[in-house]
Amino acid sequence: MIVAERKPIAEILANLRQASSVAVVGCDTCVAVCMAGGTKEVAVLSAALRLAARQEGREQLITEACVERQCEVEFNEPLAELVAEHDVILSMACGVGVQTLAEQYPFAVVYPALNTKFMGRPEELGTWSERCLGCGNCVLDKFGGVCPITRCSKNLLNGPCGGSQDGICEVDPSIPCAWQLVYDRLVAIGQLERLWQVEPPKDWTTSRDGGPRKVVREDIVP
């Protein structure tokens, strides 16, 4: 899922001070699950914004709202009145949701409240870590289900590097060496010989480096 984190309050406030009214709009899908932008976080941030306005002697109307999934125009339609009535829309969705609102309501001023970080999974309650960076050409079959593009700090395809020590990456002791993980998994599933295959340099055109991407299902488009 998409994992995001609330921006520092000072940064959020910097964009809001001139507004006499702010609609804080959350999203109850990915960002709710990673506890950054769901109904509850909207309530918390809104309370903080109201207190900030009071502290700074500003009159500011803060309205709370939350939609099921902010990247879908249908779910954002009921926001039309809210958008019209507020100077600024503060979106607590991921970058996709923020942009959807901006596209859908082109005359609205839409600001992000979150920093969208990565696609990842929860390791335990309250901790999420990166697993996929969307390179567009999945090679998980070759590496026992462990992605060296994402999990190796150096994106190595023929790792490990000399910095792998006791299964830990030299970049940070909290990062497991992805190549150790690849190795262990291939051993576990009896496919270690795959590592004999030398991987050529990655073609990054399937990733963001080739420009913004699009997926079309020709059989589904009307």
Binding site: I9, K40, A43, V44, A47, A48, L51, Q55
Partner: protein
């Protein structure tokens, strides 16, 4: 330094087994929280969240004290730790919006510490500024 007590609004958020039970015992002795303190009961420290604390400030509290059972005494084992961490996170949030961190306090107690609770409430004042080279 003023000797006057701070009687600005104070919201006391406490779990029913610690502060709640203590207040009940105090009531039996005919003692109560001062008038400027509003008491808010929660079933467990773990039930306390940032919103509760922020709303207390929104309704006019100038100080908020969060109280739970002490470590090891929570019936749900981890409630006190959650309360402590939630309070710390909220304090950061408050400071980022210009409300001084000292205005939010966290304490732990047992039900037989009612007298301590009253004392803490009375002692909950702004930290004394260090005066340098004052005549």
């Amino acid at each position: 330094m003023s000797d006057a007590r701070d009687t600005s609004p104070l919201v006391l958020i406490g779990c029913q087994r610690s502060a709640g039970a203590a207040l009940a015992r105090l009531a039996d002795e005919g003692r109560a929280l001062p008038a400027h303190v509003q008491w808010q009961s929660v079933p467990c420290g773990g039930n306390i969240d940032e919103l509760m604390i922020l709303e207390a400030f929104e309704i006019g509290a100038e100080r908020v004290m969060v109280v739970s059972c002490a470590a090891g005494a929570c019936n749900s084992v981890v409630g006190d730790e959650r309360a402590r961490r939630r309070t710390a996170a909220t304090r950061e949030l408050l400071e980022a919006i210009g409300i001084e961190g000292w205005r939010l306090r966290y304490e732990t107690m047992a039900p037989n510490m009612g007298a301590d609770l009253l004392r803490w409430v009375d002692a909950f004042v702004a930290p004394v500024e260090e005066s340098v080279g004052e005549a």
